[in-house]
Amino acid sequence: MRLFIPRSLLAEQLQIVAKAVPSKSNLSMLEGILFTCDGNSMTLSATNLELGISSTFAIEQQEVGKVILPSKIVDIMRKLPGETVQLTINPENYLTEVVSGQSEFQLYGFNPEEYPSSPQISAQTVEFSFNVKVADFRRALRQTLFCVSNDERKPAFNGLLFSLQEERLTLSASDTFRLATTNCRVNKAVNAGKFLVPAKNLQEVLRIFTEEEETIHVLVSQNQILLSCRNKRITSRLLEENFPDVERVIPQEFTGRVSFDCLKFMQAVERSSLLSEAASNVVRFFISKDCLVMRTSSKYGKTQEKVSAELEGEDMEISLNSRFILEMLKISEGEKCMIELTGPNKPCIFRDSLHDDYLYLVLPIKI
């Protein structure tokens, strides 16, 4: 089989799938990338059996064939000198010649039949399905992914909880110190229920699905989730764990509600955190009728910041981890930011004025 492909196109497509190639695997063919050419389109696939990425792109009329090439091809393609690349694959031993300009590579390919078939979700095995706008889904991921735990001892908190109900998808993430939930509108939703997706694999969704106007089709089976958008597909295994009931930890009544300018508040917290202690980054907040004072002290010195704010309800003193606050403020899109308070040693809820559905609950530090 012989193929001619524009080099920059192939290099760009390889970058997309390369993230799913495991650096080391018991199954040696997984350390490669599967090339499938069906005549006028080419599909590249990679998987580490937990995350799978594939991308299809149109090429000019070519021969039909398949091969697994070692993942070195990603770097080779980036550095080759010519405009086009010629791939010549020997169907007997899968030795593949890569020629571009003055440069020639011979790569030891693998038999493509050995590659694990990418998970197929058929009408019988599908449990949930829905369509969602890329822009909506990306926004929801940005609002939640950052508070997923990296601690492998708590597998349930390494995932993002998807709850599908009618035309609404709720995403929730937590690391046991804080919790973020948000909604996005979906359509053509089939079935209602919950499932847990590894956050690490969803980072790839943010990286790969960047065309904001497009729609993502999502299919979920018992074990897998499949997200496809135009020519790209991402599959991920689901987590086998129970996420705690989110509704139960969210307080329903408040003693006070304070709102302030998001940007000014963020800058003040950033300055205060410069002096906070490394481990828990404590900043102490004093909230009164028309202003919010934050104080920090450590062995290096003390600082005080004042931000104008509007409080409805009782005055309050509360200590919070400034890193948690800053991570939320960075993704906040509205001009204003609100905090709903329930007591000095009780959780408080941050809200974004632009997204009513978004909720970010932080546990205070007891002093």
Partner: protein
């Protein structure tokens, strides 16, 4: 791998089959027995049955899952083994832990087979214990070990334990026949004699040829008596894949020497191949020397079961053997 392809383990199969058919699969199994008893074969059969699409009780052999498990490329069957001759590390059990909390890739279960579980370090065993205490619903663990005593009692108590007994001659013969080897009666006798009820060793002997091993063992004793440097010999032995088999052959040679020395009747020992003679050993070794040499080899066999530096253990044993042989010269005692 189908249940009926494995011979002489009917009791084990009955238990496993019932568990599989009723869906009451234990979350962890522990198969125990010496090297060559068939732990891996059994683990293969059980894991193939657990991931088969068509049949609940056993691997059907024809579905895509069974084909993949046959070639050890099934994405839901994970084999975990120590690197080289070292121990199973905590990083490996952490990796198991991470993977176990995923749902299976495509099968009903995902299976983790831990080979040589006796080499788990204390931290690794404790980390695995956490997983065995609170296992993910669709993960099955199969631990393979030489003996339950080599594992932490807390780990053993969380597994369904199968002590695999040695097989009788009839089962060994059917295993050898299934492997399609044309064996003469004399060969068969020799293999059964050497296999000691271990199917794995029987197959290895059938493949390796016992004659050559026996000759190699006699040759090795010859080399030890000459002035050849021990280090080169130790290098060669430590790299030998069939080291344990060779040690068995050494033991047989010593046994035969003792039998010949005390009874003088060559009909009591297995027929020695042509060109191999025990005369030289017979002339040099006393009964006590033979016993001392046997102890050295048994000690080495035991050492090799735990996590040791193979090269060092072999060299140490060779030096001890040489001492035994040199002792002969100084005392001058012969049989």
């Amino acid at each position: 791998m189908n249940w009926k392809d494995i011979h002489g383990r009917q009791e084990v199969f009955r238990v496993l089959r019932v568990a599989l058919a009723s869906g009451n699969v234990a979350h962890a199994y522990l198969f125990c027995g010496p090297e060559g008893i068939g732990k891996k074969t059994l683990a293969k059969a059980l894991s193939a049955a657990l991931v088969c699409q068509k049949s609940l009780e056993e691997s059907c052999g024809s579905c895509s899952d069974c084909k993949q498990s046959k070639t050890s490329s099934h994405p839901d069957i994970h084999w975990i083994m120590p690197d080289g001759n070292k121990s199973l590390k905590i990083s490996q059990t952490r990796e198991i832990k991470r993977a176990a909390y995923f749902k299976p890739h495509e099968a009903r279960y995902q299976v983790f087979i831990v080979e040589r579980a006796e080499t788990l370090t204390l931290e690794a065993a404790n980390s695995l214990l956490v997983l065995l205490e609170d296992p993910p619903p669709r993960a099955v663990f199969i631990l393979l070990a030489s003996s339950p005593a080599a594992l932490l009692p807390t780990v053993v108590s969380r597994c369904q334990l199968f002590q695999l007994p040695r097989l009788d001659a009839a089962s060994l013969i059917s295993i050898l026949n299934a492997a399609e080897r044309q064996l003469s009666l004399a060969d068969l006798k020799r293999i059964l004699h050497g296999a000691e009820g271990l199917p794995g060793r029987a197959l290895l002997l059938a493949r390796e040829g016992r004659q050559e091993l026996y000759a190699e063992a006699v040759g090795l004793f010859g080399q030890l008596q000459s002035n050849e440097p021990i280090t080169a010999l130790a290098d060669k032995l430590a790299a030998d894949e069939n080291l344990l088999l060779l040690l068995e052959a050494l033991l047989t040679v010593l046994r035969d020497t003792m039998v010949l020395g005390s009874a003088g009747n060559s009909r009591l020992i297995m027929p020695v191949g042509e060109g191999v003679s025990l005369d030289c050993l017979l002339a040099k070794l006393s009964l006590a020397n033979c016993m001392a040499a046997i102890e050295v080899i048994l000690k080495l066999e035991k050492d090799l079961q735990s996590s040791v530096n193979v090269r060092l253990a072999v060299e140490r044993a060779l030096r001890r053997l040489k001492e035994v042989f040199e002792n002969v010269d100084s005392s001058g005692g012969t049989l």
